[in-house]
């Protein structure tokens, strides 16, 4: 990928950013490539030194806060005309439920990733409680002498399983945190890419 292709690709994927920010970044990377070329490399090598288009786009998504992206998205592109306002009012029964549905869906999506974590810890707690119960039962049956071995065995087994399962919980939590980070980055990249901007 040479300089021209890199800058075109960059421009194509940054449409969701404010206009002056896009221009600023394009001229920044253009100058950066020129300077690397001046140090005796080819344009292709310069693009690779920057990390390639994919890494550059990921870096930009990482460095741009979600708040400013949403703000840019919400910025009115043109003044609302009377007709538009009328349509908005008349269409209220239609778009309001749609908005609520979209909001609930987003909320459910967020909760869904946490469900696995909650379930894992619930199972963990149930193992611990069962183990303690078996131990308590052991002491209760101590006088009568019934099922003592089974109860001790169960208590130890459940304690062991609960300790092992703690590692599973930890793994699921870490996986969930990583997943959330990826989802956030994906949303940001989508917003930065923009797309259907009617300007």
């Amino acid at each position: 990928m040479n300089k021209r292709e890199f800058l075109n690709e960059l421009e194509r994927n940054l449409r969701g950013l404010p206009k002056d920010d896009i221009e600023g970044r394009l001229s920044f990377y253009s100058e950066m490539i020129d300077d690397i070329v001046a140090s005796g490399k080819t344009e292709e090598e310069a693009v690779l030194e920057l990390g390639g288009i994919d890494n550059v786009l990921a870096d930009i998504a990482c460095d741009t806060p979600l708040k400013s992206l949403v703000k840019e998205k919400m910025r009115p592109r043109r003044k609302a005309s009377g007709l538009l306002i009328l349509i908005l009012i008349l269409g209220f029964p239609l778009w309001f439920p749609l908005l609520i549905t979209a909001f609930v869906l987003c909320l459910v999506g967020c909760l869904l990733t946490w469900i696995f974590v909650i379930v894992a810890y619930s199972i963990e707690i149930s193992f611990i409680v069962s183990s303690i119960t078996c131990l308590a039962a052991f002491f209760m049956y101590l006088a009568s002498g019934d099922n003592l071995i089974i109860l001790v065995g169960l208590a130890i087994l459940l304690a062991g399983v609960s300790i092992l399962f703690l590692y599973v919980c930890k793994y699921i939590t870490i996986f969930n945190a990583k997943l959330n980070k990826k989802i956030l980055l994906g949303i940001k990249r989508g917003l930065i890419k923009g797309g259907n901007r009617n300007e």
């Binding site: 600023g24 920044f28 100058e31 300077d35 690397i36 550059v56 870096d59």
Partner: protein
Amino acid sequence: MDAQLKRGVLDVCVLAALKNEDSYGYKIIKDVRPVLSLSESTLYTILKRLEDAKMISVWTKEFEGRLRKYYHITSKGIRRLEEFKEEWKELNSIYLYIVRGSRYE
């Protein structure tokens, strides 16, 4: 290095790269990288932030038939560097405390 800690010192590192002479993007990257890794995108964000905070100013100069942006540290930027040195003294005493642990007898 911890991301939070790094974010705090990166701005100062970029200012320090401009302390002695005005510099441009690629040169700042080359100067800072041996001390602290930073991506070009991060540098762009920092330069923008410093410019908005009026700690640096930007001017363009022609170089080999193209325009190159130079960054100049302002008096406010120099003040920030001095402030950081003071903050560092505080941090250093915290560091010494962490290494040494409690000394109360």
